[in-house]
């Protein structure tokens, strides 16, 4: 215990030096407290479109919905998604500023499901509707 170290004119015994390093390591390990929790919910989303109706045709699906008139001024566009339930997968198939959309070039004799949402002028997408499905006929289906 005779080992000494000089740090800027202060003589320190080895054991004290180790103690200081030990304390500084504990200090370094204990990081600064977390901060920056955003206060309040900052988004004001558009509601989900209402009355979604899907009508299956011959290799097409006609989709229509309604939207509150007082909120139409905030709407930039509507997004139409095809929903594949077995994979819980959502695929954007198109956008429109109208409240109708036609999905064409579909394969017949299959069930197609859709969801629709409204996007506001800041490009923030509001709630999506629940899926609504329709059976799409093939081009040679017996009607």
């Amino acid at each position: 215990m005779v080992f000494h170290v000089e740090i800027r004119g202060i003589y320190m015994r080895r054991i004290e030096l180790i103690g200081v390093i030990f304390a500084l390591l504990i200090l370094a390990a204990c990081s600064k407290k977390h901060e920056g929790l955003p206060t309040g919910f900052k988004y004001d989303p558009l509601p989900a479109p209402e009355n979604l109706v899907v009508t299956g045709g011959s290799e097409i699906a006609n989709i229509s919905w309604s939207f509150p008139a007082e909120k139409m001024s905030r709407v930039k566009e509507f997004r139409v998604y095809q929903y594949i339930e077995s994979y819980n997968m959502l695929q954007l198939i198109g956008t429109t500023t109208d409240t109708t959309f036609t999905d064409s070039l579909l394969i017949g004799n299959l069930l197609y499901c859709y969801k629709v949402s409204a996007v506001d002028t800041t490009d923030f997408e509001g709630w999506r509707t629940n899926e609504t499905c329709a059976f799409v006929l093939g081009s040679h289906s017996v009607k």
């Binding site: 929790l37 989303p45 923030f124 997408e125």
Partner: protein
């Protein structure tokens, strides 16, 4: 910065007290609780201090790791919430962000308490070493008789 200053003051004060005491074993207790007591043949007390300090330090390390993980997950959820472009993602990340914030707060409290416990054990051990653990004679003795000899050992608590 305040914490560095506080620790520096504690170290300087402890160092001064240790110098004044002139007891070599106090140095060891300053370095790690219980070490000086064990060197002074107070094995029970030494083990107790050492065990308590090890448990505290290991708990601090585990809590620190969990805290860092919670803060990382909070930061990630916060970034996702602030950059969300769909209300569903925003709500999901907002809830996750609050959950991870609560976790981080809770773990920060645990960690602070454990640091206090470790510091308390250390301070208790130094005071004990300075005032209540006088160096004892070696634990072994030899007693020689006519046809036998006895090796005796003792433990101090």
């Amino acid at each position: 910065m305040k914490r560095i200053f506080f620790i520096a003051v504690v170290i300087v004060l402890a160092s001064s007290v240790v110098h004044a005491s002139g007891n070599e074993n106090v140095y060891y207790s300053v370095l790690f609780p219980g070490w000086g007591q064990i060197r002074s043949a107070h094995y029970g007390k030494g083990s107790l201090y050492m065990g308590a300090e090890i448990v505290s330090l290991v708990s601090i390390a585990i809590t620190q790791i969990q805290y860092n993980r919670a803060v990382e997950q909070y930061d990630k959820a916060r970034r996702s919430y602030l950059s969300a472009d769909y209300i569903g993602d925003a709500v999901e990340n907002y809830d996750l962000m609050h959950k991870k914030w609560d976790d981080a707060e809770r773990l920060y409290g645990y960690r602070t308490a454990l640091i206090g416990a470790a510091a308390g054990v250390w301070a208790f051990n130094v005071v004990d070493m300075l005032f209540f653990s006088k160096e004892e004679e070696g634990p072994l003795s030899l007693k020689v008789e006519d046809r036998a000899f006895f090796i005796c050992t003792g433990f101090s608590f």
